[in-house]
């Protein structure tokens, strides 16, 4: 096992705070689900819980979880390397025979392992929706895969910035800023591009391919695509691009992951580069 990963897991799961955190997360998720079920049931004229409403509840939980991933991951990963530097433990680590790749991967996996545990621990709560129908196991798997993938993407950004930036606080702020841009920035840009095209377009029906290239970065739009096939149809209609947006999202971010990790690995021992 990767020594850094082994040590970090030991440190993280030794602390009681970790388990208190999981407890509160599961409590919050349970309360949210119970409250949703209550609202949906009372608002239903028949007094029954319909499969369509169960689906709505699942979507709500999935977006809640995505929000959590986007909010927590920068905090967990934005200081993995810079905090070692600030704590003066990095120089010793770099004199060991571990490769830069092993150190970076160990740091990344250990920092997101807590979130993975949170998500896995919440699986039984999600399973409640199966009692009422409306969601297929494939959709559940897709949502969880998507959460893990988003976590990995944001985690790679965190590791990248904490390697390049010396101060943890600056690195974290940068990671949060990039995350905010991915979530809100790309949505706003897509909307603006669409509006501009709408105003100046001559052809009917209007096709705005640029919207596709900003929307494909947005995890919210891609998650919505998992639940609603109409989202894909609408995007095709607006942009004229038939390539599935989820596939573009995965490919683009896979490239981002590889690039982030490569830059992080190359810059971990930046002082060893000639001319540094």
């Amino acid at each position: 096992m990767n020594p850094v990963l082994n040590k970090e897991l030991k440190l993280r799961f030794r602390s009681g705070k970790t388990f208190v955190g999981i407890l509160f997360y599961l409590l919050a998720l349970t309360l949210l689900m119970v409250a949703l079920m209550y609202v949906l049931r009372t608002s239903s004229p028949s007094g029954f819980f319909k499969p369509q409403e169960s689906r709505l509840m699942f979507m709500f939980l999935a977006f809640f979880q995505l929000g959590l991933v986007l909010f927590i991951t920068p905090g967990l990963t934005g200081g993995v390397i810079s905090s070692e530097r600030e704590r003066q433990t990095l120089s010793i680590l770099l004199t060991t025979t571990q490769s830069s790749f092993t150190i970076v991967i160990g740091k990344l996996l250990s920092s997101i392992s807590y979130l993975v545990l949170l998500i896995l621990a919440s699986l039984p709560i999600y399973s409640f929706v199966f009692l009422f129908g409306g969601i297929s196991p494939t959709q559940l798997a897709q949502v969880f895969f998507f959460s893990l993938f988003t976590m990995l993407v944001i985690g790679c950004f965190g590791v990248l910035f904490s390697t390049l930036i010396r101060k943890t606080i600056v690195s974290m702020v940068t990671t949060y800023s990039v995350t905010l841009f991915i979530v809100a920035g790309t949505a706003v840009i897509s909307l603006i591009l669409f509006q501009i095209a709408d105003i100046y377009a001559v052809a009917t029906p209007k096709k705005v391919p640029s919207v596709y290239f900003s929307a494909m970065f947005n995890p919210g739009i891609v998650l919505a695509d998992v639940f609603e096939p109409t989202v894909s149809e609408q995007i095709k209609e607006i942009t004229g691009i038939k390539f599935p947006i989820w596939a573009a999202h995965l490919i683009t971010y896979c490239i981002v992951i590889v690039l982030s990790l490569t830059i992080s690995v190359r810059n971990l021992r930046a002082n060893m580069k000639k001319g540094s």
Binding site: I92, L93, L94, R269, N271
Partner: protein, 310 residues
């Protein structure tokens, strides 16, 4: 063996290390002495593959620090001047982590860790959290960490800094033991007497330049142009009058309530012997005539001052 050729480091216009040439034999304990900012830590960081030199290179047991950094890391145990420890990690786990980082198999680590803890007198602290140990204990633990992969060369950057006298003595004893084990040790300090006792060879760094190198006594001889001579006499006036006539003698001081004098003498052993011979011939009532051991701190100050003026 460590071979350093023209190793230098510049940060923009600031020169942290001027081209350094050095050869340190296997099993030798080499002490780097210098004030803060003299270039000791820069040299060590370069040798520990943490910092790229601006020019020059170095090899450790034949492995080049730039071309074969991984090979160098295998040969090297490094203890920086400032280092942190991980919270919530026990002493034995701390060593286990670094052992794993050097690729030592778990079964071997299990045997090795108690031995290392015993070497640095921390066996009784193996289950204690590292962040709760005293500074001296942390230093010793860090030393044990640097030995986990049994390196041939140890680079210890001010290992005794910030320690109380007892902890310093303990550290010195451990280093002596390591020396007996045949390790090549590079150690730094800004206190010359601290190193003089345990080092075979000393190098004095000042403003990034190696200004002196050799055994402590050789450095003293090489750099001290004036000897301090102490003379005990029955007749103070006659004695002072005799020595005042000699152009090689300066700064005559009266010591011990008028029973002895001390002065600076410029000259070698032969001139010193001739001076004593003349004094006896002229019947100066000398009780004792001896060369004083000069203070190592004074030597260090003199050397670094010379560089400053030049």
């Amino acid at each position: 063996m460590i071979e350093i050729k023209g190793l230098s480091k510049k940060y923009g216009k600031f020169t942290a290390l001027q081209p350094l040439d050095l050869q340190i034999d296997a099993g030798c304990v080499f002490g780097f002495v210098g004030q803060n900012g003299a270039g000791k830590s820069t040299t060590f960081s370069i040798l520990a593959t943490l910092l790229a030199p601006t020019s020059g290179t170095a090899t450790i047991n034949g492995a080049d620090i730039i071309k074969q950094p991984k090979e160098v890391r295998k040969q090297l145990g490094y203890m920086p001047d400032f280092f942190g420890v991980y919270d919530q990690l026990k002493a034995e786990e701390y060593l286990d982590f670094y052992g794993a980082s050097y690729g030592i198999p778990a079964a071997q680590r299990e045997k090795l860790i108690p031995q290392l803890l015993e070497l640095v007198n921390l066996s009784h602290k193996r289950k204690d959290y590292v962040d709760l140990l005293s500074r001296g204990m942390k230093q010793r633990l860090c030393l044990a960490r640097s030995l986990i992969h049994d390196p041939a060369v140890l680079i210890l950057d001010e290992p005794a800094s910030g320690l109380d006298p007892r902890a310093r003595i303990e550290m010195r004893e451990i280093l002596k033991e390591l020396k007996n084990m045949g390790k090549t040790i590079l150690i730094s300090s800004h206190i010359l007497p601290e190193l003089a006792e345990m080092c075979d060879v000393i190098g004095i760094l000042d403003q990034g330049k190696l200004v002196a190198q050799g055994t402590v006594s050789a450095i003293q001889q090489q750099l001290q142009s004036e000897k301090i001579i102490s003379v005990k006499t029955f007749d103070m006036q006659k004695t002072i009058a005799f020595f005042e006539e000699n152009p090689r003698i300066t700064k005559i001081e009266v010591l011990e309530e008028g029973k002895a004098i001390q002065f600076l003498f410029k000259g070698g052993d032969e001139e010193q012997q001739a001076l004593l011979k003349t004094a006896i011939q002229k019947e100066i009532p000398i009780i004792s005539f001896s060369e004083m051991e000069s203070n190592l701190e004074d030597v260090f100050m003199e050397i670094t001052k010379e560089v400053e003026f030049s």
